[in-house]
């Protein structure tokens, strides 16, 4: 096989070549997903645990579909009935899971650093499906895939990321990954929504002038605003947020003709995006991202677990 990684935990450990291998592999999985029978025996006999220690619908569904289409046996573990709720430590939970002789753990946890810890304890393949506000590498890879399909290459692309960057696990992976691929990255947010040191993530610049930066952007990546929070919110109102940082129809006048829009979902219509932009027939790549999620996760599972063959030709 020759894919040089056992885990997908920190996107910064992946080279440009590694990432291209994933994207190209993901592309070959398209044909499986467009058949009537969307299943290949590649990971038959492998057991993959989806350990989701905090609520997640999309990422979990996407992983589950990817695993099933590769014929892996899956175990969904987590939710409100988790043993951690009963006071079991993470270490004990993971050791218990390993006693089932599983091959791979896909983990989502609200605490940063948990995937690495699970890798150290378990010895099996670990895929980070989002840890705290640290990283979310498969999201970054599906974003890259979507941008690559839409733009053909990463060379010279200027990506603007708009919104709650400081609390975003997506950005912890996406910004370094975009830099690895040679893109320019500008963050658009007020200081209340920024991490302490955006340069540490690799961002080339930070601005609060959304209209001013829009004409330069090839990709406008809108982040989800957590509308649950009101007290102590980092912005005074959703209305004002939309006014300053929402991608609205009015702002299309500043965009390049071929600029595209991404969003990790789920979207808040009328907050970070209005419906005109969310549903834009040529610019919006939001549903392409969802599809890319399945392709990329199939590719990652296949490359890490080293199944028999990718089954695309069978």
């Amino acid at each position: 096989m020759g894919f040089p990684h056992k885990h997908l935990i920190d996107i910064r450990e992946y080279s440009r070549e590694d990432i291209m291998t994933i994207l190209e592999t993901a592309k070959t999985f398209k044909q499986i997903n467009e058949r009537r029978i969307k299943k290949v025996p590649t990971l038959k006999g492998f057991t993959v645990v989806n350990m989701f220690n905090e609520p997640s619908t999309r990422t979990r569904s996407s992983f589950e579909i990817a695993e099933k289409r590769l014929s892996a046996d899956t175990l969904n573990f987590g939710g409100s009935g988790t043993s951690t709720v009963k006071g079991e430590s993470l270490t004990d939970t993971v050791k218990t899971l390993c006693s089932y002789k599983v091959d791979c753990i896909v983990v989502r946890d609200k605490h940063a650093g948990v995937p690495r810890k699970i890798a150290d304890i378990s010895g099996v393949h670990v895929i980070d499906a989002g840890d705290g506000k640290h990283q979310h590498p498969t999201q970054a890879l599906l974003d890259l895939y979507t941008i690559w399909e839409a733009k053909g290459s990463f060379e010279g692309l200027h990506v603007g990321i708009v919104g709650d960057i400081g609390h975003s696990r997506v950005c912890g992976s996406l910004i370094p990954a975009l830099k690895t691929m040679g893109c320019k990255v500008t963050l658009v947010a007020p200081q209340t929504l920024l991490p302490a040191r955006p340069d540490v993530l690799g961002a080339d610049g930070v601005t609060t002038d959304f209209n001013g930066i829009l004409p330069e952007l090839d990709v406008v990546y809108m982040l989800r605003i957590q509308r649950e929070r009101f007290e102590g919110a980092p912005y005074p109102s959703l209305r004002e947020y939309n006014m300053l940082y929402g991608l609205t129809q009015d702002r299309e006048q500043y965009m390049k003709p071929d600029a595209v829009i991404c969003h990790p979902g789920p979207i808040n219509r009328g907050v970070e995006l209005d419906s005109y932009m969310a549903d834009h027939p040529t610019r919006s790549l939001i549903l392409d991202q969802v599809y890319a999620g399945v392709l990329v996760r199939m590719a990652v599972l296949y490359l890490l677990l080293g199944g028999s063959d990718n089954g695309a030709d069978s």
């Binding site: 430590s89 270490t91 940063a112 650093g113 912890g172 991490p195 302490a196 993530l201």
Partner: protein, 430 residues
């Protein structure tokens, strides 16, 4: 019977001593310092090649008893202290029950007398239950031997309350030792805000969360005149605040830990080592360098460990769920010898000031000097022993050191408390 300690290099800046000589000890006190000493009946120990200094004191230690004996207790904590070369430690009051009354002070003293391997000085809480709302019975605690006041572990949030604490404590000639942390600003901060918090995706604990409260407490020291000792100071700017306060003549002192001198936020790798989760957090390399400057120029008064034992399972958790703190008693002296003395940054005299002389002064303890009449609390170390820090070697119940695997040079070999050996040749005497 007398004890004669022979041929150690005796170092004590208090009496301008630095020479190879003998010490004659009787009834717990030094009787004579000189050459070829003898007595009618005596036992002797040859300490050739070793250095003997006034006994080291660590004024910031969590012994955990009563209440958290799974982490540490007075027996294990004081053995850990003796093993690290200490003759005395000051126990912090955040036990269960909290040391906020005379009874609790007496309990710690009684347990220490019964099972301890070093002197245990007892600090009392400033406020009842460490709640930051009502004054604790400081006067009664002083009457029962309490040596200082602190709400260590948390800041006193209310400025008016902190003023009341200082105003009231001022009558007792005891220092108030604040743990400076602005809760609103620090929030759930896990690591230094900046590079580490961004890289690790953890909540930031900003330097300003410490500096603001130090600034406030210095202002309150000016207002009240109560002596103030800033605990575990970690930033360069915080030290500048202390420097300015000292220049102004305010009774302000401060302490730093070996881990804030030797480690920085950059040591917290992507494996999220919970042994490096400490409060205040490890800061930048620039801060560490600034603290070392302060150790050299005298703005830092004392080295302390903030020895914070936790059970293995408590630290074997998600970083954000693991408790703050690392143990330090058994590595402190060796770290200072390795990283400061051996590198020529400070000399032995300065080390003795930081670890033996100033700690006693700040806690209003009797002076210990290498001169006739002084209490024979003595620390002996071999500056040439090279050793590797191993968890299995600790006498502390806890193993949560950030220095496991470090190769250090210099180690305590013998310790005397009141003329009795608590450690000989590296082995704690039972």
């Amino acid at each position: 019977m007398a004890l004669i300690l022979r041929n150690a290099r005796l170092i004590d800046p208090q009496v301008g001593l630095d020479e190879v000589a003998d010490l004659l000890i009787r009834d717990g006190r030094i009787v004579e310092v000189g050459h070829d000493l003898t007595a009618k009946t005596y036992v002797e120990r040859d300490l050739s090649g070793k250095i003997l200094v006034p006994g080291l004191v660590d004024i910031h230690v969590h012994l955990r008893e009563h209440g958290f004996e799974l982490k540490e207790d007075i027996a294990s904590g004081t053995r850990s202290a003796a093993h690290g070369g200490f003759t005395a430690v000051c126990a912090m009051p955040n036990t269960t029950p909290i040391t906020d009354n005379a009874l609790a002070v007496e309990y710690v003293k009684a347990r220490a007398a019964e099972v301890g391997k070093c002197r245990v000085l007892v600090s009392g809480a400033c406020t009842k239950g460490l709640g930051g709302e009502t004054l604790a019975e400081m006067g009664d605690m002083v009457a029962h031997g309490c040596c200082a006041f602190t709400d260590d572990g948390r800041g006193i949030k209310d400025t008016g309350m902190m003023r009341r604490v200082l105003d009231y404590a001022a009558q007792f000639d005891r220092v108030v030792m604040p743990h400076c942390q602005d809760d609103e600003l620090v929030g759930k901060g896990q690591v230094n805000e900046g590079v580490a918090s961004t890289r690790l995706g953890l909540e930031g604990w900003p330097a300003e969360g410490e500096e603001l409260e130090i600034m406030r407490d210095i202002a309150l020291c000016r207002l009240t005149g109560c002596p103030l000792h800033i605990q575990h100071l970690t930033t360069k700017r915080a030290l500048d605040l202390v420097r300015a306060a000292k220049a102004e003549g305010l009774p302000v002192t401060c302490e730093v830990t070996p881990h804030h001198l030797v480690l920085t936020e950059d040591h917290i790798g992507d494996d999220y080592p919970t042994s490096l989760k400490v409060n205040p957090p490890l800061r930048t390399a620039e801060d560490a360098a600034g603290l070392i400057e302060g150790v050299v120029d005298g703005s830092v008064d004392v080295i302390v460990t903030d020895h914070a034992p936790h059970a293995e399972w408590e630290k074997d958790r998600e970083f954000e769920l693991a408790p703050f703190g690392m143990i330090g008693l058994e590595t402190s002296l060796s770290l200072i010898l390795t990283y400061l003395v051996d590198k020529g940054i400070i000399d032995y005299n300065r080390m003795v000031e930081l670890m033996a002389i100033r700690p006693r002064e700040i806690l209003r303890q009797e002076r210990v000097a290498l001169e006739a009449g002084s209490v024979a609390d003595l620390t002996v170390f071999d500056p040439n022993i090279e050793w590797t820090v191993q968890a299995s070697d600790f006498l502390s119940k806890a193993k949560n050191s950030g220095f496991i695997g470090y190769e250090l040079k210099g180690r305590a070999t013998d310790v005397y408390v009141g003329g009795y050996a608590t450690m000989e040749n590296g082995v704690v005497v039972e």
